[in-house]
Symmetry: D2
Subunit: 86 residues, 4 copies
């Protein structure tokens, strides 16, 4: 089975890269800690959103796909539970 | 009061930027969702580590500093509680 | 379809109830804040473990079950994604 | 120094105990997994709220107190950073 395509998440990941550089600039410019911490919270939220979308695609495509082919549904569930626990 | 310097965190933030680009590359190359999700977990952990270090510096320097000058300790605590709740 | 049985999680939930009462007792006895906070961390970890087990059973039984019956797999995925986002 | 009083959090902790028993009842009654998971999310949020309030009291009273007495501010900061990292 071919992996699902996640290219629709690249725009978000480029924005996340921009947010990381934004935090670097705040540090270079000696900005106030609490302002930097607030930017980091925003960055974390952006990452959590992208993560949720990739998980959703995975559940919809790979988990579903594992039921009608040679792939094992139970192994797929083990795998995703293990990843969610990390 | 001058803001504390966080330049010692720039190395970690450059590594985080590299991790974000790594996730983008995995997506471009059509890597498997679970491998991408594991990379995103690693990225999140790196960000949480840097966040903790900035918070630590803030507590040690700004909160302490707020007690011997014109700055108000209670306002500083309100501010950090508000940021931690986000 | 009948709901899966979660009775094997009752022992953990009774232990969690005991942990909540333990925190109440620490407060009644005027224990030190950091010791109370550490107990709350342990309580949170116990809850996260039980939550993971219920999610695992759900994925293994309900999600799988939704593919061979009248139930709609896509609706089940929407539902679990919505719950995970909360 | 005397520990700060957290008795104003006991009402929340009794409500949390009720929520834990609510989850036990849902399991006893064979309720649907997703409904149980949503109750657990509500329980986790209640705990996070109480935890935030205890942390806030700690910062306002113990951290502040550590500056005008025999207690060491830096040790108090080490201690709270260690607890937050758990």
């Amino acid at each position: 089975m071919k992996n699902p395509c996640h290219k629709d998440k690249l725009t978000s990941l480029r924005r996340i890269e921009g947010q990381v550089r934004g935090v670097q600039n705040m540090i270079e410019e000696g900005k106030y800690c609490v302002d930097i911490l607030n930017q980091i919270k925003a960055l974390k939220n952006s990452i959590i959103t992208v993560e949720g979308k990739i998980l959703e695609t995975h559940l919809r495509e790979c988990i579903k796909g594992s039921l009608d082919g040679s792939e094992n549904f139970d192994l797929k569930i083990d795998e995703i539970i293990k990843t969610m626990k990390r």
